[in-house]
Symmetry: C2
Subunit: 432 residues, 2 copies
């Protein structure tokens, strides 16, 4: 049935399943379509090589929604030094009614001041003119090295070239145009069975380094042909981003350019009313989609060989958050994860170092640590366990750490990657 | 004149100067003695191999003050999961009147619970019995892998062996016994010319990984033959630790075992009165000593090839602290430092990510960045600069970053090391 809204026959299953992590169960009402299934009805995209990447790979992407009154929602980085495209998008766009995405890789247009804002505005205007929309309907997203000025002429040429290439199956080349150090694509085409009828949901996402989004994400573009009110789109995107990209960390580094955009064409004719069963089901699908994308970003963390999930329970909302991020961002924990080293003492150290409070007169934190179900530390102290079994489970591709704090107030999780030689190699020589 | 309190002729200059960083000017009234100058009068030390290190290197160190009523001061880690030796020392010792240091490498005795406390107490008792002091006069310090139990019998044998080897020139072997992954020793013997007469000041210090002390340090033992009141010793140690070890970070990881101890024998006959010129001068010497030791810890940071100082000015005390630590602990900044890559955009990113506050309606942070005197970013935006000159200065052994924030409220600094392949290698396979 998706072919009614797609662009030809759709393969039933992609070569490798999109939902591939044990940490993201696929909702029963969600079906994976192939990577060449095309975008939901009402959307077209293109990606072209405009010369921003030295490699000659695609680097300017454009995605348009062809309906007159689309609905959208967006989230941006929480950094204090947002890039020009973030500032322009946030301040000049009708974020609830976006019609065009203009994205580029190869230059972040960050730390570029007044000129960076002017450059961003010029490309926004060019994309608006090329697609016949108002500039306020064009959201901008850039990624690449910070501090370089945007080559505006090249981007404008890319826009004109991309306009002539827009097509419903353009999501693959759009995806390539937004990638930087990504080793594999993070893209999905799903069909979601709602009580009111089937809808399509697609995503294109990039992110491999400088990943610790906090209330935003790296670049992620989402499209659906469901009809949503702007408030519903904003609510769903906000909740799902908090449960996915906000829980992912490659290196604890918040980017200047994080952007997530959900666009809804309504072309399926299926309307998702607020607080309906449709909204619940679509939310579940979006949630699974974004969590899998977040885990894929972590798995594609620069140089990543192994990924982990740390779940922290007990304490209070603030303490579980601090503890989980401390473990996820500890270079010692991450290096041990890389080496498959069962050095769980570093988890205790990371939690204790971050939470502090162990000064004179205070009892030490009663931290519990469990790795892949093997309890190794109870109330802050080592306990007997099967060392051979532990040595084996820490060699898995995905390793799960559970940390317990005193009390029972809260619970959170963070997905993270290891710290490898390749991360150092990639980042020791990025600009030169 | 130091030979009066030393143990034989003292070479005037050590082979490599102790004060070797441009960031620590040597006070005019401080003279470096040789590494074999021996401890200040009233102190003896020893280090023996007790089998805690698989390498067979020295791993149990003992240092005693031979006067009846010495004065001392101590600082410990601020972690919420302090190691057993920290808990026992903090809660059972007369920290203002310590006479013996018992230190070991090869086992941190951390995350070892009740048994760890009992083990620590046993070794404290053994050291007290071996040296004829009260257990409350024996401070404990351990370093090594977290989560392993202390081999008490081996440590006790080491104590007995060390007792028979105690001598005034034992600081070199004591130093070896407290080292773990340290690549070079961090040890000094100084003479300080005070208005009331010359005194000696010695230090033995270890630290290479899990370094981000915050209000404490890794293991550092300091001795002087000056006579100080306990309050003066505590004040001087507290102030100098805050300006040195608290400003150093290898990997942003607060240890479970950080300990700094200053012991004063008074054997020189020179009394340092509170608020005197003597106190000022001794404080200057201690300050320079601890800052150089902190920089040496960073330079010996696991796998370190290049070190840096980030100075942040403007803002408020909290914001400069957060910004400086964010830069110092950013794996992206550290990897660029490693590669000699002039990727200054990451400094803006690290500051913006840590300070946040760039949400809708807020102006971006007006961050200034200067590297080795070359101003590359003004009010958050790139400015023209000599790129070739920048590419050269970031290849130096010591690189200085200056960050300016809006306002003029505060100033701080952090010394840090780079992120190298060797750090990953060392920490991916530490316990196995």
């Amino acid at each position: 049935m998706s072919t009614e809204r797609g662009a030809g026959p759709v393969p039933m299953v992609s070569p490798q399943p999109f939902f591939r992590s044990r940490w993201v169960p696929t909702p029963a009402h969600v079906r994976e379509l192939g990577t060449d299934a095309g975008l939901p009805a009402g959307f077209r995209a293109a990606g072209v090589a405009a010369g921003l990447k030295a490699s000659g790979d695609p680097d300017v992407g454009m995605l348009v929604c062809d309906v007159q009154e689309p609905v959208s929602a967006a989230r941006f980085t929480a950094t204090g030094t947002p890039a020009a495209p973030v500032l322009v998008s946030r301040e000049r766009c009708r974020l609830g009614a976006l019609r065009v995405v203009l994205a580029n890789a190869g230059c972040a247009n960050a730390a570029t001041g007044r000129r960076g804002l002017d450059d961003a505005a010029k490309t926004q205007g060019a994309a608006a003119a090329a697609t016949g929309v108002d500039p306020s309907e064009v959201v901008l997203a850039s990624t690449g090295a910070i501090s370089h000025f945007l080559p505006v002429d090249a981007v404008v040429k890319g826009i004109l070239q991309a306009r002539s290439r827009l097509h419903q199956r353009g999501d693959a080349e759009f995806q390539r145009a937004i990638q930087t150090t990504d080793a594999f694509e993070k893209r999905a085409n799903l069909e979601v069975e709602l009580p009111s009828g089937p809808v399509r949901l697609s995503a294109q996402c990039k992110g491999a380094g400088m990943i610790s989004p906090r209330f935003a994400t790296m670049l992620c573009f989402l499209q659906t042909d469901a009809a949503l009110a702007a408030e519903t789109a904003d609510l769903l995107l906000g909740v799902c981003v908090k449960r996915s990209f906000d829980r992912a960390s490659v290196d604890g580094q918040l980017s200047t350019n994080d952007t997530a955009v959900l666009m809804c064409s309504g072309s399926s004719g299926v309307t998702v009313a607020p607080e309906s069963e449709d909204e619940l089901r679509l939310g579940e699908a979006l949630d699974a989609l974004l969590r899998q994308l977040a885990i894929m970003m972590v798995a594609d963390g620069e140089g990543a060989g192994r990924i982990a999930r740390v779940a922290v329970r007990g304490g209070c909302p603030e303490s579980v958050e601090v503890a989980a991020r401390a473990v996820a961002n500890s270079p010692l924990v991450k290096a041990a994860l890389h080496g498959g080293d069962p050095n769980w003492g570093r988890i205790v150290q990371a939690v204790g170092g971050a939470l502090g409070g162990g000064g004179s007169g205070h009892p030490p934190l009663a931290v519990d640590v469990t790795i892949e179900g093997i309890n190794v530390c109870s109330e802050g102290a080592a306990i007997p366990f099967d060392e051979q079994a532990l040595a084996q489970v820490v060699q898995r591709d995905e390793v799960e750490y559970e940390v317990g704090l005193s009390g029972e107030g809260a619970e959170t999780e963070v997905f993270f990657s290891d710290l490898s030689h390749e991360y150092v190699t990639i980042n020791a020589d990025y600009t030169t």
